[in-house]
């Protein structure tokens, strides 16, 4: 379970997250929608401690992410994240990209790490691209590799940060399909996205972010289908 309690986060004088509280249960898929600069990506970075917070608490399975004594490297093993700019490691092959963390972070033997990597890569449809360098892949393939790389750590949670925003329109589908598959397998996911139709389809709940706060949260049929807040309705009108 991920518990976010009254989290505030500023970059210098600019406060981007202004008191967010929400809980994500095991097995749940929560989509976060909202305009650019509404603080949704920043919140995601705070959940696995890539960004520090100014106040509040974020608990992952009861462990305070930002507490002094927390072993953040250990905690991150169970929180996978996929970025907008997929961030493939260019000097490693697709297989090596996915094997690296299981070997060096989890200390698995080479054969085992390789087996895991092959399994995850096949799962996202890249079983034929093991020996290829990322520069030879399309954006959609690199993004799927990034998903496999996160999955290879067997995380309990997956965070997706606008993973289709930097892709050509014809490549969006293959990445969304991969995420659909994960959600059907019961993965707990927080998905920051601009793909409203996708959010509606896969989410258990949708959170609408506005000016650093959760303006509305609930089942997709409510938040997207029948928004209660005028800001949500205005936002949806602008993107649909």
């Amino acid at each position: 379970m991920i518990e976010i309690e009254n989290v505030h986060k500023s970059f210098g004088a600019l406060e981007v997250v202004k008191g967010v509280t929400m809980t994500v249960e095991k097995g749940e898929v929560v989509s976060v929608i909202g305009g650019s600069g509404s603080g949704k990506s920043t919140l995601l970075m705070c959940i696995n401690g890539l960004e520090p917070i100014n106040s509040g608490h974020i608990l992952v399975d009861g462990t305070d992410v930002h507490a002094r004594g927390t072993d953040i490297n250990r905690l991150r093993r169970k929180i996978g994240i996929v970025f907008q700019q997929w961030n493939a490691f260019p000097h490693l092959t697709v297989l090596e990209n996915v094997m690296l963390a299981p070997r060096k972070v989890l200390g698995k033997p080479k054969a085992e790490a390789e087996a895991i990597a092959v399994e995850k890569l096949s799962h996202v449809g890249l079983g034929e691209k093991l020996k290829v360098y990322p520069s030879k892949l399309s954006g959609g393939q690199q993004q799927r590799m990034a998903i496999a790389r996160a999955l290879a750590m067997s995380p309990d949670y997956m965070l997706f940060d606008e993973v289709t925003s930097a892709l050509d329109p014809q490549l969006v589908g293959e990445v969304l399909d991969t995420m659909r598959m994960l959600s059907s397998e019961g993965m707990t996911m927080i998905v920051v996205t601009h793909e409203i139709a996708f959010a509606r389809e896969v989410s258990d709940r949708v959170a609408f972010f506005h000016k650093g706060k959760i303006h509305e949260i609930g089942p997709p049929a409510q938040v997207i289908g029948n928004p209660q807040q005028p800001e949500t309705a205005t936002f949806l009108k602008s993107v649909l």
Partner: protein, 220 residues
């Protein structure tokens, strides 16, 4: 032109010259190893929070890059000598070239470090790697590719700079040996021509093997 070429005595001296070339390589390799070491420290110092460290690094880099290498070697030998610190020819030459290498390479490393986007570190950390692990496994290999060719160039430059050792009395490197042979026999053209060919071959060997290494290492 009434100079008659006598190549035979020059070729007879070839083994001596090749031994000299070995000393040349020794100075060059040592100066590169030490140069890389100091360059890393300088690159880190130039990004430091402490002004004194930054100033020190900047001065080193500025002096190394904007004064003649010959003066840098003179300084290590005669300059320090007049301050009461006496270095032999070999360490003085080594110090001078190391100073020069470190200055140039510090800038190279600084650029190389900047060429690796910070998002790479972020991705590595998100997978549970610690900061040192992320640097070693993700940043360093990518940086190495960026600095590889400048590093090769500096190595060639270091080899050629060792010939300046003769001005601080080094007599067992390739130039030193050649100079001695020249003084003894006055077959100046022959000896210097052969020495030049040896320098050329060493330099070509270095760039050639570097190219081969780059081809093996950087498949991406």
């Amino acid at each position: 032109m009434n100079y008659t070429f006598h190549w035979r005595p020059a070729f007879r001296a070839l083994p001596d010259m090749l031994w000299g070339a070995l000393v040349t390589l020794e100075v060059a390799v040592l100066s590169m190893v030490l140069g890389v070491f100091f360059a890393v420290l300088l690159a880190l110092a130039s990004g430091s929070r402490f002004r004194a460290l930054r100033a020190f690094a900047t001065s080193w880099v500025e002096l190394a890059r904007n004064t003649p290498a010959l003066f840098q070697i003179y300084m290590a030998y005669f300059g320090l000598g007049s301050l009461g610190i006496y270095l032999d020819s070999f360490p003085a030459l080594l110090a001078g070239i190391t100073f020069n290498n470190a200055g140039y390479l510090a800038e190279t490393f600084r650029g190389g470090l900047r060429a690796v986007p910070p998002t790479q570190v972020r991705a590595a950390r998100s997978l549970g790697m610690g900061p040192v692990q992320a640097f070693r496994l993700i940043v360093l290999p990518q940086m190495f590719r960026v600095v590889f060719h400048p590093l090769t160039n500096q190595m060639v430059w270091a080899i050629l700079m060792t010939s300046l050792g003769v001005v601080v009395g080094l007599n067992n490197d390739l130039t030193g040996v050649t100079q001695d042979l020249n003084v003894k026999s006055f077959r100046s053209f022959e000896f210097f021509a052969i020495a030049a060919v040896i320098y050329y071959l060493i330099a070509k060997f270095v760039t050639g093997s570097a190219r081969l290494m780059a081809w093996r290492l950087f498949r991406y």
